[in-house]
Symmetry: C2
Subunit: 103 residues, 2 copies
């Protein structure tokens, strides 16, 4: 939901790998675990963090659960980074023009 939780969630390499595995579309938990060097419970736990950060959604398919990227958390993160980027750009230009408060 918030950019804080999104940053926290994507900071871990394994969790980021789980997240990026969903780039192509929805994937079941077991499938993800097969392709990563961690156990299935570990993947489950990562998916929970990602879900609480609004980065991932769950859809039931019988006994399986298909996870896919959620735009919600991504939007929050995007807004944060974009805002900072624009602000930094302005500060940089001001600095270049000598408008920045020096000393």
């Amino acid at each position: 939901m918030t950019y804080e939780s999104a940053l926290h969630a994507l900071a871990d390499p394994t969790r980021r790998a789980v997240f990026e595995r969903l780039r192509g579309g929805a994937v079941a938990v077991g499938r993800i675990a097969e392709e990563l060097p961690v156990s299935r419970p570990a993947v489950s736990q990562h998916l929970r963090v990602l879900r609480e950060a609004g980065l991932v959604r769950e859809r039931r398919d019988g006994v399986r659960r298909l996870y896919s990227v959620d735009l919600e958390g991504l939007r929050a993160l995007r807004r944060y980074v974009e805002g900072f980027w624009n602000e930094a750009l302005l500060a940089f230009k001001a600095e270049a023009e000598g408008t920045g408060k020096k000393r």
Copy 2:
């Protein structure tokens, strides 16, 4: 430099507070520490992580060191998030149109 290190650097709340303190322009280490509930060495250590992630630059001013936002790391992070965002948007539209590979 890389989006990985940027994500890792910005995941910590205190380190993010240090980073965001530089929004308005360059600030000295001691000044940052005064306004945060952590010691000056802690701030120094956070600044090192931020610098190694390309998020922050250092400029010497006599015995003081002024830190400011570096566009380099921000650019890497921005590219990562933006790329993921666009891809997720496409996947979402494909899903909505029933073009996504179901089942």
